[in-house]
Amino acid sequence: MKKCLTTLVVLFMLKLCAFAQERTVTGKISNEQGAPIQSVSVVSPGGKSGTQTDADGNYKITLPEGVKSLTFSAIDFETVTKSLGKASVLSFSLISSNTSLSEVVVTGYGTQRRKNVTGSISSINADKIKNVPVQSFEQALSGKAAGLNVILPNGVLNNPPVVRIRGVNSISGSSQPLVVIDGVPVLSGDISTNLSANNALGNLNPNDIEDIQVLKDAASSAIYGSRAANGVMLITTKKGKSGKAKVSYDAWVGSTKAFKVFDVLGARDYVDIKNEAIRNQPGEVFNGHVPGSPIFFLDTLNGQIVDTKWADEVYQTGFQQNHNLSVSGANAGTRYFFSTNYSDQEGMIQTNTFKRMQMRMNIEQKVNTWVTVGANFNFSRGNTQSPSTGSLPGTPFNTAGAARLAFITAPNVSAYRPDGRYNIMGIDNPTLRNQFNQIGRNRNRINSGLINPVMVRELNKITSIVDQLQGDIYADFKIIKGLNFRSQYGVNWQSGLDETFYNSLHGDGIGSNSTIDDDGSAFSVAGRYNISNFQNYLTYDFSLQNQHNFNITAGHEEQRTEFNRFGASRSGLTDQFFNEFQGNFTINNNPIANLLTENYLLSYFGRFNYNFKNKYVLSLTGRRDGYSAFAEGKKWGNFYGGGVSWNVSEEKFWDNIKKTVNAFRVRGSYGQVGNLAAVGNFGSLSTFSAFQYGLGYPTLAFSQAGNQNLKWETSTKLDIGFSFGLFKDRITGEFSYYNTKLTDLIIDRPLPSSMGVPGNSIQANAANMYNRGIELTLGAKVIEKGDFTWNTSINITTQKNEVTALAPGVPEIIGITGLERTNITRVGQPVGSFFVVKTNGVDPTTGQRVFVDGRGRDVLFNFAEAPANRWKYRDGTIAPPISIASDGVVDPTSLPKVYGGFSNNFYFKGFDLNVDAFYSLGNKVYFGSRAGMLDQRFWNNFQEVKNRWQKPGDVTNIPRIVYNDNFSNGSAIPIDANLFSGNFLRVRSIAFGYTLQQNWVDKINISSIRLYAQALNPFIITNYPGVDPEISVNGNTALTPGVDRNTVGQARTFTLGINVGF
């Protein structure tokens, strides 16, 4: 590949030569509207003589004898060569080459006119992303386009959102769409290895984005072949526009805090409730305890009752600021855009921060009449710090998870002791300290079992830094009119450094050994995640008889992805002074997070677009992908898509109604694309990995059962729709029906564990499902009266998902949230349905929870009994214990049925008001945190626990409280009583701005100033009782959606900002 690049460079250096004598030519160059164009390059053939037009479009050039023509070129205009004849004056107008982005759609390896697109593409404009106080651009996309569902799983900074285009498209792989920036595919998702989330896409400055195209169907996405099943997001960054240099400064400052926190018991109530629970549990015996006597006490420290609001120790009001500066412009041969960004955000959780420093250079240079070269480069550093929040996928039950500790920690204990030291068990005795590793219990007679969240927050340190170089260089060769060749080399190089330090006194740093001092630990992980991408393609645009318009693309792409990561672990901190990996520790542990892997994609693609008089449009796309991870003999896959559309309103017969319906177009597409994301890089191989047995016995052991038939997942997409414009596009609309059939989906086919296969599973193309639904987008310019404008738009998407096949002999796949089996995937049900035990309220006579067993019989549970007698049928006979395996039922409501968004913009004189909302309907959320918050161990409870059953006849939904009871309210097994409707309508942002009067800003030589105030997540309408129905503790996984368990909710952020143009 290096060779190819050298050749390119040599080519660019080639210069053509010519010869000379004298004459003068003058003239004026204007655009199609007659306005003068500055910086038009005027050159003689061979480039011997040359000049540029001035600000009034005038030029004057002295030419040698014999020069018969001049070539006029300018950025954004078609290049023209005019023969001179004998005239000494030559004035004319140039024709714009670059139709504005609103008319052109970036489609991957090229562009297309919007009205000739046969596929389903949603466009999102820069204005929708700019100024929003988020870390990565995807976080600003909720509700912005039909078919695109973006859920922010929580308010942890730079945690990747869950992005889905037309539903869940994979079971074990990611449903994350392919993200392509300026033609180069990039990494997405959390690339941190520790508890500080770091979204790879957080390195793109949202302000640098010009627009985003969301490719949803086969016709539009098939050009991406085996990477297209989840849809594709094409991001175009800003480029300079012709004219003088434009300088912009955009900044905001703001504050953020938790949207909502739980309402938990104060110390007095806590003590009363827990002692009642103890009285109700005569069997609770421990050393020295008299049954029935209280074990929890209101404590006093320095004469004041200890009543700690732990939420205040975890959450905060965070300060945020963000600054952007950009310079852009274009002249005769050069187009440029430079920008820099500094973002410094504190989160709503204490010590959670995000910092980004970023620089971009987008530059394009016309070398001569037929060669243009360019480069887009972004260098960025994304730096996050976070405590253990328990909110990232796989962590909800982490003992130091701040989200949970903020609510379950007993309010009658304090973070600090009276002497100012941290309150932990056995603070003066290392042996006891290690044994318990718990917060101090103050006067309570029972240990709390929990970590002191303040101590770990203050002494531990978890950071992740990613340095990223993302960009490309390219050259365009215009061979003849309409025939263009592009060669592009792009990279996405990310270097990560994840550092974790756990103190040696308390929390995650406490080792398990009492004799070896291995307390206090540090982990450092360094990784390089590199994508190199090389593309070459020819595009030929031509028309025959001005009726038959063709656009043909053929090309080649190769992409190499290499991950190289290693990490080290140390423990046994020798001195409290050290809190870095490089400090002193006595034990060097095994390496961690090692990763050395690669994949390679080699592709050929072609696209054929044809239209007849811009009325009848046909588009055919094909791609052949070879991918290294597929099994031998299955390396190559063919993918295709085709679409047709008919611009009905271009027909003669439409003329009558054109005044009303100015545009009407129907379209349809069909095709088959693939998904390679679920295939492990070496997933088809059976492998043995090496380790050790004791000291001196190196081992080899079976580590992966490979499937020699492993290949891509197939997505067959059908899309039918129409779009229209009414009253000169005053009202526009687009409707689509989509039906995606997913076959050969890869699942970790579970095997009975008695087979002893590593992981008890083998990857296999063994599942099918479908996603169906409709999408509707409506936009209207409701009022355009004098100074007042009101624009509105709304989009609605419906989705229905059903799994139609799983591997033979595999009736279901269980979805696990930390320690719990919360979800299930079964044939005939949506992927990741809830899996809960049914309950039947609380028995008013006994106050016992009524469970419903697998056969539909009521089983009453009494934790106060001996274990063997706890479960009884209503007739008093002993019942087998309820378990999720034998008594769980499927609740198919984990995915929304309908989602979408709407937006309203108002303008009055200089004022603007923008309200963006999105909504989600038809799904439930499993409120697992409630199970924990009604758990009758030493944990604190919701205020709701006060409604508990107390005496016969009480009708309530909270059972009689019995100390240590973790069953009755769903803490040990998920129950349907903790499923709640997840319907919501959320106003994502309200922005109110004022643009200063032009004549005023002119006086200070500034072209524009806008001041604004913005609220992110100002309010929500929902019946969901948790902090937030827009939540996903399991992140992006398909098998466990809709779970709210020990995770933080969203933040609410207010900002004040300014946009200045010079």
Binding site: C4, T7, F286, N287, W370, L432, Q435, G449, F477, K478, I479, F485, S487, S512, N513, S514, T515, I516, L538, H556, N589, N594, L596, N599, Y600, Y627, S628, K635, F682, S686, T687, F688, Q692, Y693, G694, L695, Y697, P698, T699, L700, A701, F702, S703, R749, P750, L751, P752, S753, S754, M755, G756, V757, P758, N760, G809, P811, A868, A885, S886, N966
Partner: protein
């Protein structure tokens, strides 16, 4: 004319460029070779790799979920000598109070870890046979003997918890675990019904007999091989445990006699001279390779059972010795070395702790100790004898007097002798995973302790449930109820 020339010129450049590009594509990159793992094609291709595969089987047995930790812990805490201190479902509280559901992670994980060891073993047996030309036949059979020793050990512990009822309840007729002897690398062969306990025991004994015949008598004197790799004495010693569990006391005696001398000082007359060490502490402390340690699983800082798996953590943090258990035994004197060395008395609400194995990072986990063989033999002799068997009593006193020279047992009846031996096992083997085995092989009731009630052999909780996932994915599997 010039235009055409230009066009040709441009096309040529672009064509050349495309040619370079396409020829530059590297199709070999479509079949990359992983750099950190070996593919199955080459995993047995050298003598060194074959040896490493054998050690790989030991390392599976050593998993913290299995005999490196939890499998032994579960056996102990089912017994009456422990109190749960943390009430943590992750760390065996529901094992301790007999309330395990079939989908409990502990139920799933131990099953999984045991069968992972068995499948590794089966793969290695197949791999050795397929590559027999690479190593000498004696080396091959010695390797296979090591693997079969590991397989026998794994089946023994799996069936001890998952078999429907103890062997002696119906002489092995009831359902045990599926018997898997062929390697699994693909979904084929998923469905397999449970074998009976007799079948499993027959296989265990077949493996151990092969092991005894083909294992080396010793690995020489360097390093810890004589403790961490199976040798003849290890196979014989394990057989004494297996026969004792089956109630086949005659065979216990036959096997034990191979490695226990007729009279004191008791020691192995054959192979490695295994025997009691003078100070009990030294069997559990560095370098962990005393003559008493017949077979142990090695631990190092970088090869430990992992967090929440190690015996040390459980006996010093998760569980304590309950005041009403063996601690209350008046005949277990305060001066007994096993009290002075291993018991940290209760303090306040903190229960007494057991520090026999206190360091998960370095503490080798004893699987077979000479003291156990002596007590196995003593019990078999005592049970088969008609009166108080003298050699049985001598063996018992040897174990007791090693730690407490002031006590000499002198039982007057056979039953008294048996009960003294059983009691001595509770003390001598405390914290090494024997209590549940001992209760169940005798069909006794698990006594009540603290908030956990007693569990009779008729109770469904007497044995563990079959894991829910196995029931789901292996349709021939049947539950334990």
């Amino acid at each position: 004319m010039k235009n055409i020339k230009n066009t040709i010129y441009r096309s040529l450049i672009v064509l050349t460029l495309s040619a370079i590009v396409v020829s530059g594509c590297d199709k070999e990159r479509l079949s990359p070779i992983p750099q950190t793992v070996l593919s199955d094609v080459s995993a047995f291709s050298t003598p060194t790799r074959i040896a490493q595969q054998v050690f790989g089987v030991y390392s599976a047995v050593k998993s913290g979920q299995f005999l490196g930790g939890r499998a032994l812990i579960y056996q102990d805490v089912r017994g009456e000598d422990w109190i749960n201190a943390t009430n943590n479902v992750v760390t065996a509280v529901s094992v301790w109070n007999f309330s395990l559901p079939s989908n409990d992670n502990q139920v799933e994980n131990m099953w999984s870890a045991g069968y992972a060891a068995i499948n590794r073993g089966n793969l290695v047996l197949e791999g050795i046979d397929a590559n027999a030309n690479l190593i000498a036949p004696t080396v091959a059979s010695a390797y296979k003997a090591e693997v079969q020793f590991c397989r026998a050990l794994s089946y023994f512990y799996l069936q001890s918890l998952y078999a429907r009822r103890p062997f002696n309840a119906d002489n092995g007729a009831s359902a045990s675990v599926p018997l898997r002897l062929t390697p699994n690398k693909s979904p084929e062969g998923a469905n397999l019904a449970r074998a009976t306990q007799s079948v499993i025991f027959t296989q265990i004994l077949a493996d151990l007999n092969f092991a005894e015949a083909n294992l080396p008598a010793t690995y020489g004197s360097t390093g810890d091989s004589n403790v961490v790799r199976a040798h003849k004495n290890a196979a014989i010693a394990l057989k004494t445990r297996v026969f004792l569990t089956m109630g086949n006391y005659a065979s216990v005696i036959t096997e034990a006699n191979k490695i226990v001398s007729v009279a004191a000082p008791f020691q192995s007359p054959a192979n490695i001279t295994n025997r009691l060490v003078p100070a009990v502490l030294s069997a559990f402390r560095t370098p962990y390779t005393s003559a008493e340690n017949i077979f142990s699983l090695p631990m190092t800082v970088n090869n430990s059972p992992g967090g929440q798996n190690g015996l040390g953590q459980y006996w010093t943090t998760e569980f304590g010795l309950i005041g009403t258990g063996i601690l209350a035994d008046a005949n277990w004197k305060a001066t007994d070395a096993r009290r002075t060395n291993f018991v940290t008395p209760a303090a306040g609400s903190t229960p007494a702790r057991w520090t026999k194995l206190n360091d998960d990072l370095n503490n080798y986990v004893p699987i077979i100790r000479y003291a156990e063989v002596m007590l196995n033999l003593a019990e078999a002799l005592a049970r088969t004898g008609t009166a108080v068997d003298a050699r049985a009593l001598a063996l018992l006193n040897a174990v007791r007097q090693r730690s407490d020279a002031t006590t000499t047992f002198a039982p007057s009846t056979k039953d008294e002798l048996i009960s003294l031996i059983l009691n001595e096992r509770r003390i001598e083997l405390l914290g090494e995973g024997f209590r549940s085995l001992d209760i169940m092989r005798l069909g006794a009731t698990f006594p009540a302790k603290a908030s956990a009630g007693s569990v009779a052999p008729t109770s469904v909780s007497y044995v563990w449930p079959i894991p829910a996932s196995e029931l789901l994915l292996n349709p021939l599997m049947t539950p334990n109820n």
